[in-house]
Amino acid sequence: MKDKSSDVKKVTGRPGLRLQSLGMYCPGCHYGIITRVICEVIEELGVAGKAIGLAGVGCSFGGAPMTIDIDWTSCPHGRAPAMATAIKRIYPDAMVLTVQGDGDLGAIGLGCFMNALVRGENLTTVFLNNAVYGTTGGQMAPTTLLGMKTTTTPLGRDIKTNGYPLHVPELAATMRGVAYAARCTVHTPANFQRAKKSLKTAIQKQMDGIGYGIVEFVSACPPGWGLKPLECLDYISERMLEEYPLGEFKNLDKTD
């Protein structure tokens, strides 16, 4: 009898950089998929040995430092870009990556992030936008949609009280030191591939010394949204992407 196992071709599996440890994500959370994007991109670019990751406070911290096999540090809330600045200045050949959520980068750390752009730092930022504060139980984030109910906007986010959703890559694209700014999702296989390409481009800009790269990942938070995992995919397509359009907002081959 023919040994069928020799016909079986492995087409996918755990990325080489994905450690055996468990992530700390809820069912239906997209951060696990984004962890895979980060792993695969770092592997494909061959920069794992010189990678230093900085994870912000929030759910972004729950997975990356414990599940990706590169050097990591956790950061105080919102301060990853300042810490990354020093590391990159001291080790210019390192690949320095910050992973920050919408509260971490968009609220408490917006000034810190913007000032890293003002200084024209040569870094990469993965910006995780799930429109709520997941870790603390689903409160309003700067990226919460208008009308969206959270535990601190029980009647829905209202412009008069809470202002407008924050568009980070569009904002970053206005800064001269930024080489790459894009928004992507991982809620479909095709978008997963596009997300990989975006992050790869952003990191390549850093390695080539061109400038700052930022990639936003619009992603699901089932408990924060009060939706089932599959319903979240529709919510992303129908609501999130309406406010947060996908695409590249900047892609420069050189910054002056």
Partner: protein, 360 residues
């Protein structure tokens, strides 16, 4: 003998740091310490170092945190309001055990205070852990240009030895006064390898993660805190520093640190000439505080006068050390010849206070 030069205390901070091998400075301008970042921005690039001007003291302290993670010697300097902004980061540096040197050139507070005025109004802030959660930083309080230069070198050594933030505290008077210093290199002995530093794993194989993963288990939390508690106990045993001047044969012990100790020393000489048996006890480490030595000196003298240019902060630690065994008096900032701009406590004013106490 090494070269001698005439420089300000702020300049001595910067030169002392470079002497200690510090090549990375992250800072933000604030009076009266701006000469330190200015000097660093000029000198560090010449030796392959880096100066980064942050957007705030919050930015500075996190650049220090990131820079410290690489294992290199790094520092920042600021003045009082800036130190408040750094308080959060100080707590993280202590928690994550990141070596760093932070210099506070104190200006009169609270609030925005007055940058052009000397004062010693940050004592409580620097000695009690200015950030949250309960931690300590070693605090060195030099009283001259030479001592600033020397203690900067010691600060980097202690930061590496005990893995944590070390503070050097000066003030407007010390920072702006020019004094001769000898550019000598101090050797404090060997240090352990920084096996925790982030460099990218290719330099060693196997990744490193510098967060307190211990916090995810009960025993981990306990072990972590016991380790810090033991470290602080060891620092208290090994690193207490102070200077005594005529303190073993006096009937009034003056306790003062930093610029006030310079003034008090003058007062001791002045008083001795008048026949008053004065002595000076000068804490050099404000944390760890020389509790036992002060208690002993106070008991011998029978009376204590604390001289500090503040509302009365150091006096709390002196009282806690003396434990009510002898009376502790205070001459605070109200003893200035002019409470406003440029006012200082003159030695004559200290003697006046001594005469008042003698009449009691």
């Amino acid at each position: 003998m090494s070269e001698r030069i005439l420089v300000s205390g702020n300049n001595a901070v910067a030169r002392g740091a470079i002497q200690a091998g510090c090549k990375y400075f992250f800072g933000y301008p604030i009076t009266p310490q701006s000469e330190i970042p200015e000097y660093m921005s000029k000198e560090l690039p010449k030796i392959g170092g880096i100066y980064v001007q942050s957007e705030s003291e919050s930015g500075s302290i996190y650049m220090v945190y990131g820079g410290g993670l690489t294992g290199k010697r790094i520092m920042t300097s600021t003045s009082s309001p800036g130190l408040s902004l750094m308080a959060e980061g100080m707590s993280y540096l202590a928690e994550q055990e990141i070596p760093a040197v932070i210099v506070d050139v104190v200006r009169m507070g609270p609030g925005i205070g007055t940058g052009g005025q000397g004062a010693q109004t940050d004592y409580l802030q620097v000695t009690k852990g200015c950030g949250h959660g309960g931690y300590h930083a070693i605090v060195l309080a030099p009283a001259s240009g030479q001592e600033i230069f020397d203690l900067m070198q010691l600060a980097f050594f202690l930061a590496d030895k005990y893995r944590g933030p070390v503070m050097v505290i000066t003030d407007f008077i010390l920072g702006q006064t020019e004094e001769p210093i000898e550019l000598r290199t101090l050797d404090f002995g060997p240090l352990p390898e920084k096996e925790w530093a982030l460099t990218g794993k290719e330099k060693r194989g196997g990744n490193r993660v510098t967060h307190v993963a211990a916090f995810f288990t009960y025993q981990g939390i306990l072990n972590y805190h016991m380790k810090l508690i033991e470290k602080y106990a060891e620092i208290k045993r090994a690193e207490v520093r102070y200077e005594k001047y005529l303190a073993d044969d006096c009937d009034l012990l003056i306790v003062a640190y930093g610029s006030s100790a310079r003034i008090a020393r003058g007062a001791v000489d002045m008083g001795r000439a008048k026949g008053f048996k004065l002595g000076l006890f000068r804490p050099i480490t404000l944390w760890p505080f020389p509790v036992e030595a002060i208690a002993e000196g106070a008991s011998k003298a029978g009376r204590v006068l604390v001289v500090e240019d503040s509302q009365g902060q150091l006096v709390e630690d002196v009282e806690a050390s003396v434990k009510g065994r002898v009376p502790v008096h205070l001459l605070g900032m109200w003893g200035r010849h002019n409470v406003g701009g440029g006012g200082i406590i003159h030695p004559e004013r200290v003697i006046e206070e001594v005469e008042k106490l003698n009449e009691r």
